[in-house]
Symmetry: C2
Subunit: 184 residues, 2 copies
């Protein structure tokens, strides 16, 4: 999975590079570890933001944080810094021996989406998949359109549809990878 800080949109729909949020790294790494996600890429083209990720991860994986809370260390060890989407797609292809399929997520409803059930099934087909999550106001349209698949948006049981990326990624991983016998 990848948490994208570029290209994402701001409140006004303009493409921006967003800032790292410390709790995104912790919460999403813990979800990734819980559901057996192989790698959690945190993607930003900004060098100072990459340095910040390295500092946070290093504190919890090598620094005093790793001794204070070893469970947190295990989670944050899944994090890898990425510069661009292209770079991490290449990284996965090199490691897995085949190109991954990319799966965009978005809170915006759209026609041409793949259902959670269908994607859950696809994840068992032996091909690596990369789930893309947008920070700020979400992935840019171009980023979503360039992906191999666009996952259905989460709807609760109201018309309200404004989850944090932390909450949305937790729900999505549970729907795609959670134990079947626990689910209704």
């Amino acid at each position: 999975m990848a948490l994208m800080h570029y290209p994402v949109i701001n409140k006004n729909g303009k493409v921006i590079a967003s800032a790292i949020t410390n709790l995104d790294l912790h919460d999403i790494a813990r979800v990734a570890k819980t559901y057996g996600v192989e790698k959690f890429y945190v993607v930003t083209p900004l060098k100072d933001q990459q340095d910040l990720i390295h500092r946070i991860v290093s504190h919890w994986t090598k620094g005093i944080g790793s001794r204070y809370n070893p469970k947190r260390r295990q989670a944050l060890e899944t994090i890898q810094v990425g510069t661009t989407l292209g770079e991490i797609l290449q990284d996965i292809a090199t490691q897995q021996g085949q190109a991954p399929k990319s799966v965009a997520t978005s809170a915006q409803p759209a026609g041409d989406v793949i259902s959670f059930q269908a994607m859950r099934q696809m994840l068992t087909n032996g091909i690596p998949h990369l789930l893309l999550f947008g920070t700020a106001w979400g992935l840019s349209d171009a980023c979503i359109e360039a992906a191999d698949y666009r996952l259905a948006s989460i709807t609760g049981n109201t018309g309200y549809n404004h989850l944090s990326v932390r909450s949305a990624s937790a729900i999505i991983l549970d729907r795609l990878l959670g134990g079947r016998n626990e689910r209704s």
Copy 2:
């Protein structure tokens, strides 16, 4: 639902009153609003912490935050400050005309738990239910034992079981209240 800051345990198992985390309020209120939870109680016996909750909520529901982000306002309007569990159980009983059933959540596996499927069914029986979430290292044993039900713990597909309360509450509400046709 209620986010409990007391009685919860710290890393060493001692019962403490934990501090408010700003992002808990935002993330969980947005999840609550998405899944149609009637009220999101944030419970702490500490007066200064109650004041802090009021200040955060007021910024987003009445202050400049409410104009900057009206969607956030709608979510944070679900928040109500509570002093003790007893007080909010009474508040619900008064408003609903019948005493609620309380449902403790915990990351610790236990024998006598109710499954997600069974609880999902119970939530349709017309009786008010109050879901309890613990901050810090989780609800105290006494608090869990005093609840009417103890919900099964979330397991992903690994042995790792250390989600943030933000992630866990998102997954639990989706399992209990998420649209059936979206789920596998």
